[in-house]
Structure formats: structure tokens, C-alpha cells
Amino acid sequence: MANNNHIEVIFGLYDDEEDLLLAVKAAKRDHLDIYDVFSPFPVHGLDPILGLEESRLHQAGFIYGALGTLTAFLGMTWIFTKDWPIIFGGKPFWSVPAFIPITFELTVLFAAIGMTVTFYIINGLGPGVVNTYLDDRITDDKFCIAFDKSSVSIEDAQSFFKATGASEVNSKTI
């Protein structure tokens, strides 16, 4: 969320993930457009009711891995058959079984680095990134639902938070 357009949000804090799940369901039922949900740990069951699509990160991981496989295998093939063929122990230049360990390692290496870097880039996270945090206790024991004030009126939000049992309601510009 490293965007420069400031958004006015009104957010409620809940004390338990069960309350959060019920509140998110209620918001969907009342057609309130949730800006984002924050929690100290991944809350299971939240993604489907929040309407989040499954992450495609693992598909990206597959592509990075395949890239690693090709880099290693084709690289070694080119080096040992075209660029500088050397006979080792009377074996063929293109000795495929001996290429497997390095091919495997580079597959894993490319997939891991590629996925991790992608993860931080698409999340807008990285060293030196400073985000506006809604509340310091979100990384401790509070579960937060935030509404964009331009899409949900303050009155609607406040009555929603009251009805769903939020322990605190605050506003902030992020």
C-alpha cells in the first residue's frame, strides 16, 4: 500500500478473530465496502468471506523455478558440448545424470528468490518502506476492519462497528 494518494479511513478494532470474522460477514451482508482488514496473524476463513482471490504467487514461483531449470540445464549443456568440451573420466560430453543435482538446486534457488522478491514487490514492502500504521496494537492483539470514508459514510461505519462489537473506533489518514 505504498501509494501517495491519501485516504481517509475509519476503522474499528476487535479483540478476537471470531468477532472479526462475524463482523466481516455482517459488512458483506450490509454491502459495506471494506477498505482492508488487518490482523496480528493470518486469520483462517477470512479470505473467502472477504472475497480475496487465491494468491497467484505460487504460479509465479513455478515460472521462476522453470527458468532455473532451463538456465542450469541449457547452460551446462552449452558449456560442456559447445563452449569448452572436456573429457572427464571417459564420460560423454553431454552427461545428463551428472547435471541433475545442479539443475535441481538452481530450480529451487530461482523459485525461492523469485517468489520472495515478487512477494515484497507486489505487497509494496521492502527495506526503507514506511507505511502509516492504523494502530500499534494491530501487530499485538487487535483485529481491525477499515472503511474508506469516501465509500462508506461515517454514520454507517459507526453503527456497524457498534453492532458488531468493536472495542474501539478511530479515524486516520493513510
Binding site: S39, F80, F104, A112, F119, G126
Partner: protein, 473 residues
Amino acid sequence: MSAVVSPIRKPLITGNKTYHQITEDLISPTEKTPTKEWVIGFVISVAVLTFGVFCILWTIWVGIGSWNLNRTINWSWDITNFVWWIGIGHAGTLISAILLLFRQKWRTGVNRAAEAMTIFAVMCAGLFPLIHMGRIWLAMFILPYPNTRGPLWPNFNSPLLWDVFAISTYLTVSLLFWYTGLVPDFATVRDRAKGLRKKIYNTLSFGWTGSAKHWQRWESLSLVLAGLSTPLVLSVHTIVSFDFATSVIPGWHTTIFPPYFVAGAIFSGFAMVLTLMIITRKLLHLEDYITVEHIESMNKVILLTGTIVGVAYLTELFIAWYSGYVYEQFAFFNRALGPYWWAYFGMMFCNVVSPQFFWKKSWRRNITLTFFLSIVVNIGMWFERFVIIATTLARDYLPSSWSLYSPSWVEIGIYAGTFGLFFTCYLIFVRVAPVVAVAEIKHILKSAGNQYIGENATQKQTHNHDHSQTDHH
């Protein structure tokens, strides 16, 4: 929405914690001034590390001649220590990756520290091959990069080069896995901090917000990294074993090496995790998070892998006899009854006999015994590598070149120095990062059976507490 909880499953976290208490318990060790024990431990570690650095510089300056290697025994303490540290470095990824895939939730109590241990152990391991090259300033020759020497490439058919790729991949992937797990916890530290400390931890936490989409991707990433690390961890020690198995030395040239090395690596890795966690939980008062259940579970893994290692030792002996190959038979005869017989029987006792104590439940749950045996296992696994490497080389095909070996002060100093490096890193880690994964512990708090009411229930008021804690509608 409440999770289905087995009534016979014991709680993973004892002490009826709330989320906030978990934060307090796990983050506060990084916020307090260091204890006296920590300072003493740190000073000793840095001193030993300094001596190790001196010995490494001595080796580089004087040359490998400062070690007691000779033409016959050309691998000894260096490679023994290398394989030993690499083996220790296997438990972290096993705990975080394989146990994640198997949904073993107890792993959350120990995975963070075990992963840290993995990284530091692999760093210690990597030192040995590098300084063993003799001309460390040419170490980049092992990497395949277009160069002005032809370009001349490394030998991709060599298990020694496979090792370079395996270990550097392992170190990188372990670091990524570990750090990605740390990011949300650094955010927790950040949100409790003020001033400069807040700035530092904001940088470390990469600006983590805890958004639902981020958590979803975080879980996806963790799962795939676990899936990648699982074959990786098995491949690393397999490839280390190829260093020996693809040679034509009797006693090394065996197909049993990969599974036997992997089992041995997990065995020694868990032993080291136990040694460290028993001290850490005591000093940081983490008994509610790293419980006797954790220790018992790890002891079960030690019992299993120790027994696999024992079966491998006996299989090796049998196959040597059954092969009818006189050189192979002599290699094993020499290991057991040659000049280094004490290393062989030390290995047999420490690795095969000592874990058998853990068949008894009350002994598996005995912390003093576990601590003692974890050290015994680590000594045994060091002996195993010494037996495989030095003992085997000492008696080669040509009796006139038979030799004996004992380490020089430089070799002992470098080995001691790796302990200095390991503990210096570990002690710094304990100060700057939560030793137990905070977010992951919170995640398993409720699904972990705190409704357990069986005969071994540690808290009698569990039922009442449940209501106040979850406050169902």
C-alpha cells in the same frame, strides 16, 4: 466458527495465554538489558571466535602445512567439521518445512530458533571448504562466470561443485524462509518501540502492516518455500554424501550413503536444537512455549533417526562382508579394530545405543537426561564423520603409505572458532529477534486444543478460561 478441537489433544502452549501475553512474553527479551548470563556467554563466544579468526588467518598466511594433513590422510578435521556442521544445519529446515507440510503444529514453538541455528551452522560449515582450498583469494574460481581464463568453467560433473551449489542454495533459501517469517514479528517489535529503535525495526520489518492480502500471500509463500525446502534439505546432505560415495575409496563407495547421511543429519540437527532450546527456554523463561511435549516430540525424532543410523551402520558391515570384496572388508575391519577403534566404538555407543534410552516415555520427558544425551549424540555424530573420513584414509591400498593423524593446534583452534561464530551469532539473534515465532504462536493458540480435559490436563480451569478468552456470541 470455532475450530474443531480434539478432546484428547493436549494444549501446545501452556499457561492460558492471551494474545497480548504472548507478545509480552516473546518480545520482552529483546527489550530488556542483557542479563549477566548473556553477557558472560557473549564475551566467551567472541573470545573463542577471535582465536578462531586468528587460526584461520594463520592458515591462510602459513598455508595448509600448518594443519597435520599428509599425503595419505588428506581430508580430516576440516571435512569432518564441515560435514558435522552441515548435518546440524539440517534440523531447522526440517522443522520448519517438513513439519509444516505435515501440519505438525508443535513446530511453531521451536522453528524460529531452529532456522536461525541452521543458518549459523551452515555459515560455520561453509568456512571449512573455503579455507581448505589453501588459496582462499581464488575462491571465486568455483563459480561459473565468464572469465578471462578461456573462459574455463568449473567441472559440473564433480560432486564437489554440486556441493557448492547445494550449500549456497540451502543457505540462501533458509535465509529467505527465516527472514520472511521474521518480518511480521519485527513489525510487532517496531510497534512497541520508540525513537531510533522504532526506525531500525521499521526497516527490518519492511513496513509490514498486517493487511489481509499480505497475510494471504505470506502464507502462500511460506507453504511453497516449505515445499521447495523439503526436497532441498534432503538433496543437500545427499550431495554431501556424494563427495564420498562417488569416489572409489573402499568404505566410501557405497549406495547407502545418501539416506544414511540424511538420517544422520536430522539426528544431529535435532540433538543440537534440543541442546540450544533447553538452555534458551530456561534462560528466557519460555517454558510455556517450548514445553516438555516439544522435547518429547523431538526425542521421538532422535530415537527414530538414531535407529535408522544404527541400521545403516550394521547394513554397511553386512554388505562389506557379503560383497566378498577384500578391500571393502578390510576398510570396515580397520574402522572397528584398527588404530582408531575408539572413535568407532564411541560412534556406535553415542549414536546407536544412547538414543535407545528414549523408548521410555518418562526418560523422553526428562529434561536433564535429554540435555545430556543431546550432547552425547552430537559427539557421536562428530565421531561418525571422523571414522568415515580420517580412519578410512589412514589405511589405504598401499601399506607403505599408511599413516596416522592428530590435529594441530591450528585445526583445533579453527574448530573451536566455529563454535565461537555459532554462539556469537545465536546470542545476537536472541537479543534482536523473538526466539519463538510470535505470529505463528498466536495463530495456533486456539486451534491447539486448549479445551483439552484429559487426564494429563495441566490446568484445571481450562474450561472457564475458554469462555473469558474467546467470548463467543
